[in-house]
C-alpha cells in the first residue's frame, strides 16, 4: 500500500510524541495489569491465616446463621454464605458492617469452635493485590482517584491514537516486513522490528484495551450523556421485577438447598457464594459464581438475582443469557478483563500483558536509538541530553515499577502484626522503591542503572518465595498456605534468572556495544558537561 511520504511523516510525529508521553505510564499499566490477571490467587497467597475453626459443612449454615444473628443482629442486614471458603474468605458466613463512607466497611467471619460455641473474627484480606490493581487502573500515578483516573483516560486516548498512527506508518511495508525480526548491526532496524513484532500482530488486543480503558476512565460523563439523550427517565440501573412477597408460611431455603437448586438450573456455573440483603422485612438474594464458557463484566465473577424462598434464579444478568445490548456491553468488559476461558485464558492475557509492556519499552529504545549521535573520525560524540534523560527515565520508571511491585509483594508475609496500616505500608514500599529506582537511574546513567536495577529486581523477586519459605518454617510470624500460592512463588522465582540474564546482556552491551550510545558507559554518561562538549577522543 502506497502512502505519501509527507502523510507518513505527520503520523510518525504523532506516533512518536503520544508514545513518548504515554509510554511509561502504559508500561506500568500493562505490567501491573498482567499481574492482576491472577488477582484472586495473589489475594489468597497474601492473606494471613484465619484464627477461625474450619468452616462447618454447608448443611450447618442455618445453625451458624442463627448463632450469628443472635449475637450480632446487624449481620442480618447484609451477609454472605461462602460455598467454598478459602484463605481470603475463610468463613462459611461473612457479613459487612458499614464504615464512615459508602465504600468503607469491615468484614467479619464466623465459625463454630470445637466446643460448638460461636467464633467471630474481623477478617483481614490482604490489600497487596488491590494495590497492584490500583497501579494498573491509575497507570501508577500516586494521585487521588478522581485526578489519576482522568489522566489515565487521557493516556488511554493517546494510546489509541498511537495505535492508529503506528498502523498507518507501517502500512506501506506491512506485507513485506510482516513477522520480520532482523538482528544485526543495524540496531535501529532491530528495535523497529522488535517494536513491530510486539505491536502489529497484537493490534486487536491493544485496540480493545485502549477503547475499554477510555470508557473505564470517562464512564461517568458517558452515563450522563446517555441519561440526557437515551434515557430521559434515568438509567435503568440493575432494575428487575420485585420478587413476590413471601407468604406467612414461607421461609428462606437453607444454603445447601439453594446450592442444589442453582446447580440444577445453571449447569456449568460454579457457585462461589450467596449474598443476602434484608430490605423492608423481605430477604433479597443473589448468587455469585462463574461459568468459564462465558466471560463476565466483573473481573472475577458474575452475579444474578435469586429468590431465596424458592431458589429460582433470574438468569437475565448472566453472561450467555443476556439480551443482545447487555451481551454487547458484557463483551466489552470481558475482553478487557480476560474473564473467560478460566486460568488458561488468564495465562495468555498475562503473557500478552507483559508483551504489551515491552512494546512501550521498545518504543522508547527506538526513539533513543533514532537520535544517537554516531562516532565519526575516531571521536565519540556526547549523546543528546534528551536521549540521556529518556534513557534514564525509561530504565528508572520501568524497573522501578518492577522492583516496587516485587518489593511490596516480598513484604506481604512480614507486615501483618508488625504495622498498623498494612495497606499504607504496601503503598509506601512500592513508591519508595519506585522513586529510589528513578533517582538511581539518573544518578548512575541509563546503562549502569539498568544493570544494577535489574540485579535489584532479581533480588526483590527472590525475596517473594523466600517469604513463603520462611512461612513453611514459621519464622517471624510468616505463613504459607499449602498449595494455594505456589504459582505466585513459582512465577517470582522464574523471574529471577530472567532479570539476571537481562542484566548480563546489559553489561555485555556496555562492554562490547557501540561506544557512541547512551547504553555505553564510554559515550553515554549523564555528565551534565557532556552536552557542551562536542566530542571526546576514543581512549
Amino acid at each position: 500500500m502506497k502512502i505519501r511520504n509527507d502523510i507518513i511523516k505527520v503520523y510518525k510525529d504523532v506516533h512518536i510524541w503520544v508514545g513518548i508521553i504515554s509510554g511509561l505510564m502504559l508500561f506500568i499499566a500493562f505490567y501491573a495489569g498482567a499481574i492482576t490477571m491472577f488477582e484472586k490467587p495473589l489475594e489468597r497467597w497474601a492473606t494471613p491465616p484465619s484464627a477461625l475453626a474450619p468452616p462447618p459443612p454447608i448443611e450447618r449454615t442455618e445453625a451458624l446463621l442463627q448463632a450469628v444473628f443472635a449475637s450480632h443482629p446487624q449481620a442480618a442486614k447484609h451477609y454472605l454464605v461462602v460455598v467454598r471458603p478459602s484463605a481470603e474468605a475463610p468463613a462459611r458466613v461473612i457479613w459487612r458492617e458499614p464504615g464512615k463512607t459508602r465504600r468503607e466497611f469491615t468484614e467479619y467471619g464466623a465459625s463454630f469452635a470445637a466446643d460448638g460455641s460461636l467464633q467471630v473474627e474481623k477478617l483481614a484480606k490482604a490489600p497487596v493485590a488491590q494495590l497492584v490493581d490500583t497501579l494498573h487502573q491509575l497507570v501508577g500515578l500516586p494521585f487521588p482517584d478522581a485526578v489519576a483516573r482522568q489522566i489515565m483516560g487521557a493516556v488511554a486516548l493517546m494510546y489509541a491514537v498511537a495505535l492508529v498512527s503506528g498502523l498507518i506508518i507501517v502500512l506501506p511495508t506491512l506485507v513485506k516486513d510482516f513477522l520480520a525480526l532482523r538482528i544485526g548491526k543495524n540496531i535501529k532496524r532491530m528495535w523497529m522490528d522488535v517494536h513491530n513484532a510486539l505491536g502489529i500482530v497484537s493490534l486487536p488486543f491493544h485496540l480493545v484495551m485502549a477503547l475499554t480503558s477510555v470508557v473505564f476512565a470517562f464512564h461517568t460523563p458517558f452515563y450522563a450523556v446517555q441519561e440526557k439523550v437515551v434515557y430521559p427517565h434515568g438509567l435503568p440501573w440493575g432494575q428487575h421485577e420485585p420478587a413476590p412477597l413471601p407468604g406467612p408460611d414461607e421461609y428462606p431455603l437453607p444454603a445447601d438447598a439453594l446450592l442444589r437448586s442453582v446447580e440444577a438450573q445453571l449447569p456449568g456455573f460454579e457457585v462461589y457464594s450467596f449474598i443476602f440483603r434484608e430490605d423492608q422485612g423481605q430477604l433479597e438474594a443473589s448468587v455469585t459464581g462463574l461459568d468459564v464458557r462465558h466471560g463476565t463484566r466483573g473481573r472475577t465473577q458474575a452475579s444474578t438475582h435469586l429468590n431465596p424462598y424458592t431458589g429460582e434464579v433470574d438468569p437475565h444478568d448472566l453472561p450467555g443469557r443476556m439480551e443482545s445490548w447487555d451481551a454487547a456491553v458484557n463483551a466489552f468488559f470481558m475482553l478487557h478483563f480476560g474473564s473467560y476461558g478460566g486460568n488458561a485464558m488468564r495465562w495468555l492475557y498475562l503473557v500478552m500483558g507483559l508483551a504489551g509492556a515491552l512494546l512501550f519499552y521498545t518504543g522508547n529504545l527506538l526513539w533513543i536509538e533514532s537520535r544517537r549521535r554516531k562516532q565519526r573520525d575516531g571521536l565519540v560524540p556526547a549523546q543528546k541530553r534528551s536521549a540521556q534523560v529518556l534513557g534514564c527515565l525509561t530504565v528508572g520508571v520501568s524497573l522501578g515499577c518492577v522492583i516496587g511491585i516485587s518489593a511490596t509483594l516480598a513484604a506481604t508475609k512480614w507486615l501483618p502484626g508488625r504495622v498498623d496500616d498494612v495497606a499504607l505500608w504496601h503503598q509506601g514500599l512500592y513508591y519508595a522503591f519506585f522513586a529510589a529506582a528513578v533517582a538511581w537511574a539518573f544518578a548512575r546513567g541509563a546503562a549502569r542503572g539498568a544493570d544494577e536495577l535489574l540485579r535489584l529486581a532479581a533480588l526483590a523477586s527472590l525475596l517473594v518465595p523466600l517469604g513463603s519459605l520462611a512461612g513453611v518454617w514459621g519464622i517471624g510470624g510468616t505463613w504459607n498456605h499449602p498449595g494455594a500460592g505456589f504459582a505466585v512463588d513459582a512465577v517470582a522465582l522464574a523471574a529471577v534468572p530472567v532479570f539476571l540474564m537481562l542484566a548480563r546482556y546489559t553489561r555485555k552491551r556496555m562492554a562490547d556495544g557501540h561506544t557512541d550510545s547512551v547504553w555505553s558507559t564510554a559515550g553515554g554518561s549523564a555528565d551534565p558537561a557532556a552536552e557542551g562538549a562536542d566530542a571526546r577522543a576514543v581512549t
Partner: protein
C-alpha cells in the same frame, strides 16, 4: 469445559499459527522454507479446527476472542524464537 477438548483446541491453534509462520517469507526458524503452500494449507486447516473446537465449548464471542488471543500470542513470539534459532545456526 472438557479439559481434553481445551487441550486439543489449544494444540491445534498453536500448531496452525506456527505452520503459518513457517510458511511466511520472513520466517527464520528454518534455514530454508520448505513447501510453504503445504504449511499454509495445513496451518489454516488446523486454525479452523481450533476455532471449531472452541466454538463447540464456549460462547461465540468468547471462542473467537480466545482463538484470536492464542494466534496473536504465537505470532508475537514466533519472530523472536525464529531469530534466536537463526542466531544459533549462524554460530554453529
Amino acid at each position: 469445559m472438557n479439559e481434553w477438548m481445551v487441550f486439543f483446541s489449544a494444540l491445534s491453534g498453536v500448531a496452525g499459527a506456527w505452520l503459518l509462520y513457517l510458511a511466511s517469507p520472513r520466517q527464520q526458524w528454518l534455514a530454508h522454507r520448505s513447501s510453504p503452500r503445504v504449511s499454509a494449507g495445513v496451518g489454516t486447516a488446523l486454525l479452523l479446527l481450533s476455532l471449531a473446537l472452541l466454538l463447540s465449548m464456549m460462547g461465540a464471542t468468547e471462542a473467537v476472542a480466545s482463538w484470536m488471543v492464542l494466534v496473536m500470542l504465537v505470532w508475537t513470539l514466533a519472530p523472536f524464537l525464529g531469530a534466536w534459532r537463526a542466531g544459533r545456526r549462524t554460530l554453529s
